[in-house]
């Protein structure tokens, strides 16, 4: 919370809170309500015959949690995961999953009015996962819709698995 911007009131009707994180130079935000915990990278167990961005599963206090490499998902190549990398554990569609990112950046509070629509970009195939863009201290943060992202993910995978 080191950003000096005059923070609007938390939890009032028009504002939402996001956790922002970085992947390379890009910064993304995820609704704080979806986040269960943030933990350092631990070695995962690879699952055979799964897409590259599926980084395997880890043991989260007795639960088997799948880890997705967001950089790889956004076609930025595989993350060379180290102890400094971070797994953000989120709850999506009644499932607990982890997303592998470079680092957690900030907790941001934005009012609905400040969220800009995502411009239509033909060459980007993941614009459907982005719900909007906000500017925080001059940085652009892309807000992710996890439900959208992982709904498509899991369903698509399930279909290929069944075939």
């Amino acid at each position: 919370m080191q950003n000096a911007a005059p923070a609007p009131e938390v939890q009032t009707g028009g504002t939402r809170q996001f956790i922002s994180f970085t992947i390379g130079d890009e910064e993304y935000g995820v609704d704080i309500m979806a986040i269960r915990e943030i933990k350092g990278w631990t070695a995962s167990t690879e699952l055979p015959n799964t897409p590259q961005y599926m980084r395997g599963v880890i043991n989260l206090r007795g639960a088997i949690v799948p880890i997705f490499d967001l950089r790889s998902r956004f076609s930025g190549g595989l993350t060379q995961a180290s102890a400094r990398h971070v797994i953000i554990v989120v709850s999506v569609h009644d499932r607990v999953i982890g997303i592998l990112v470079d680092a957690v950046a900030d907790i941001i509070t934005v009012s609905a009015a400040d969220i800009q629509p995502v411009p239509e970009l033909d060459h980007h195939d993941h614009s459907g996962f982005l719900t909007g863009l906000v500017t925080v201290d001059g940085r652009m943060v892309a807000l992710l819709d996890l439900h959208q992202l992982f709904d498509i993910e899991l369903v698509a995978d399930a279909i290929t698995a069944a075939a």
Partner: protein
């Protein structure tokens, strides 16, 4: 007492309905036995007691419709067991349907809904005809003074009854009032209380029975009817002497004097209005019903919430992991350096296993619960389809996890339906090909090498492979020109979107395909295989895990990955010589062991694992057996050791992964994947075909 009645009652009601469900199932099962002709008189009595218990409880809760129907059914059953009515197939069928209607009434009472007023009227009418138009509704019995025995019936007899309850009879939930009320319903009853045993008020214990009674009953119903009233108390709980005599009632005169009733005794029948039941009476079904079912068998049992057991199961699972972790931590120590520690760990391991087995046993139930629906299903369907089918069951006492049983109910029903509809031919067709007109469906369960096998076998026409293949081509499930073995064609019926029934029938075409059957079975870690011979029949084999929580596994290493192989699949492991491992065109690598050729499947190739040993003569081959009995050799780098693993689902947070049945957590906290041998075999075959 009346204040807390409402509160107490709901609790008793829940117990009552739980027991009704059990009693109904028991009755159905027993009737089925009678139908097959393998039942005994004791079975008839058992059915009678079931219905009687349901009626008794229903009376306590004032479920009038239920009481009335149960009463008629009970009367009919009584006629059967006394031999007044012969147990014909028609009769047995009527009993089955009667039991069904009784079930409807119970469920309606439970849901608090009303059934249509004429529900089960046809059955009721038939039952009434059967019992000779006797007075069968209970209402007159309850409403009118018991002075009107059926005039038409056989000559009235006089019985003297001496009823001397044991001191603790009340504690077992038996209430003399209910018995006398029932006696009064049989005929003209006069009752005299004997309060000679009544102690001083100060010495009196409220839950003991001090009173005894002498009764004189003039009835045309016969001795059996009286015995029946005392059915639950005869023997240990009360001393009952019934003598028959024509003489004028010896006690009648005294009856008039009986005024000073005991403090805790119920008032006499003659003057007592039919009052709502007190909680003590409401508790009656809880006390008597299990005893009624089990007869002389005294199995002490308590009802436990399933949630509590599941929590226990989970906790044991965590304990197993912790124990594995401790074992791993101590692996550097030797017996010489730390004798107590090593011994303690061994004991811990031993106890953990025993604890786990015992906890699992709590959840285990005989598959009987699952099979008991089959006889009726077969009967109903064979009638509907005009087929003659005999159902043979075996291994009903095989125990399996409750969740598995629950999950299997629908698939099993569907498979039986399928066997009847598609498998078994009509009697004419059967005769034409020289088979007996009556088809046979065999439903069996057995416990084999840590798994439960359930099979549904019919001696029908078998799978029509031409039609299956044509259909699969039409649906695009296979490609033209693709070579399929008979076995592969048979398995096509489980493919999503496949249904062979050319016309959707009332019986099989309910929108539930075989793919759903397979999915349901896979959901509980099971597998279904079909074996079929045209003209001879089909056999569906369901292979299921004994428990869903823990299994014995062998930890293997492939490249940088560790996997768990279920111990039940493993036959042996070996490092083949160069002579034993051969590479063949079209088949891939083949291993010769003692004159037998088996397929070699390199796990690293199937899973795309890097840095693994690819030369069989340098690695290890684990010979595994699939559910279908096929053997294949899995090439791995090395074996790491045997251990118990807790099964964790992959799909609760992700989705199923082919070749992997589940995941587990190892002693070091890392996740290891549990291999699915049968799926691996298929993947190996596919990978080969793709080359």
């Amino acid at each position: 007492m009346s204040d807390d009645q409402g509160y107490d009652l709901s609790q008793f009601k829940a117990t009552y309905f739980e027991e009704c469900a059990e009693l109904l199932a028991m009755a159905e099962e027993t009737i089925a036995r009678l139908q097959e002709g393998s039942g005994s008189d004791e079975d008839l009595n058992a059915v009678f007691r079931c219905v009687h218990s349901i009626k008794g409880g229903a009376g306590a809760f004032a479920f009038d419709d239920l009481v009335n129907f149960a009463h008629v059914l009970e009367t009919a059953l009584d006629h059967l067991r006394s031999g007044r009515v012969a147990l014909t197939p028609h009769m047995a069928d009527l009993m089955v349907r009667g039991n069904d209607v009784l079930g409807d009434f119970v469920r309606a009472a439970q849901a608090g809904t009303a059934l249509p007023p004429n529900h089960g009227a046809d059955i009721l009418a038939q039952l009434n005809t059967l019992i000779g138009g006797e007075q069968t509704t209970l209402k007159p019995v309850l409403a009118t003074p018991p002075t009107a025995p059926p005039a038409s019936a056989e000559a009235a007899k006089t019985f003297h009854i001496s009823f001397r309850p044991a001191p603790d009879m009340l504690r077992t939930g038996n209430d003399p009032l209910l018995m006398f009320r029932e006696l009064a319903g049989l005929g003209d009853l006069s009752l005299v209380v004997d309060r000679s045993a009544l102690p001083q008020l100060t010495e009196m214990e409220s839950s003991r029975s001090y009173l005894s009674w002498n009764a004189t009953l003039v009835t045309s119903k016969g001795r059996n009817a009286i015995d029946e009233v005392f059915e639950f108390v005869a023997g240990d709980t009360a001393e009952i002497i019934i003598t028959e005599g024509d003489a004028a009632a010896a006690f009648v005169g005294e009856a008039e004097e009986g005024e000073g009733w005991g403090l805790f005794a119920p008032p006499p029948v003659e003057t007592h209005p039919v009052a709502p039941s007190a909680p003590a009476q409401a508790a009656k079904p809880a006390g008597t019903a299990p005893a009624a079912g089990g007869d002389a068998v005294h199995t002490a049992s308590i009802r436990v919430d399933l949630d509590k057991i599941d929590r226990l199961v989970n906790m044991v699972g965590e304990l197993v992991i912790t124990q594995a972790m401790l074992g791993q931590q101590a692996s550097g120590f030797t017996v010489e350096s730390h004798p107590e520690l090593i011994q303690g760990l061994q004991e811990l391991s031993h106890h953990t296993r025993e604890l786990q087995e015992n906890v699992m046993a709590i959840r285990a139930q005989p598959v009987k619960a699952l099979f008991s629906k089959a006889p009726r299903l077969v009967r109903d369907l064979s009638g509907k389809l005009s087929k003659q089918v005999r159902l043979v069951m075996s291994g009903e006492n095989t125990e399996v996890d409750k969740t598995v049983i629950e999950q299997l109910s629908d698939p099993l029903t569907h498979l039986i339906r399928n066997a009847l509809d598609h498998g078994i031919e009509t009697p004419e067709e059967r005769m034409a090909v020289g088979k007996p007109a009556e088809g046979t469906i065999h439903l069996g369960a057995e416990h084999r090498s840590g798994r439960i096998f359930i099979q549904i076998q019919d001696d029908g026409r078998g799978i029509n492979r031409e039609r299956v293949l044509a259909k699969a081509l039409e649906k695009g499930l296979v490609e033209r020109g693709q070579q399929l073995t008979d076995e592969q064609i048979d398995m096509l019926i489980f493919a999503p979107g496949f249904s062979t029934a050319a016309e959707v029938s009332d019986v099989s075409g309910r929108g539930v395909g075989m793919d759903v059957v397979r999915k349901n079975i896979q959901d509980v870690g099971g597998r279904v295989v079909v074996q079929s011979t045209p003209g001879v029949g089909s056999r569906f084999i369901l292979s299921l895990p004994l428990t869903l929580a823990v299994m014995d596994g062998m930890l293997v290493q492939v490249g940088g990955q560790r996997y768990v192989l279920p111990l039940t699949n493993i036959v042996e492991s070996l490092r083949p010589t160069a002579q034993q491992a051969r590479s063949l065109v079209d088949v891939g690598e083949v291993l010769t062991i003692r004159g037998e050729y088996i397929n070699l499947m390199p796990l690293h190739a199937i899973f795309g694992i890097e840095n693994a040993i690819t030369d069989p003569t340098k690695g290890l081959v684990v010979i595994v057996e699939t559910e279908g009995g096929e053997r294949v050799g899995l090439l791995v780098d090395e074996l790491l050791g045997q251990q118990q693993v807790v099964i964790k689902s992959l799909d609760s947070n992700f989705r199923p992964v082919q070749g992997i049945s589940a995941a587990t957590i190892l002693g070091d906290g890392r996740v290891a994947l549990i291999l699915d041998v049968s799926a691996l075999r298929q993947m190996g075959a596919l990978a080969l075909a793709a080359q």
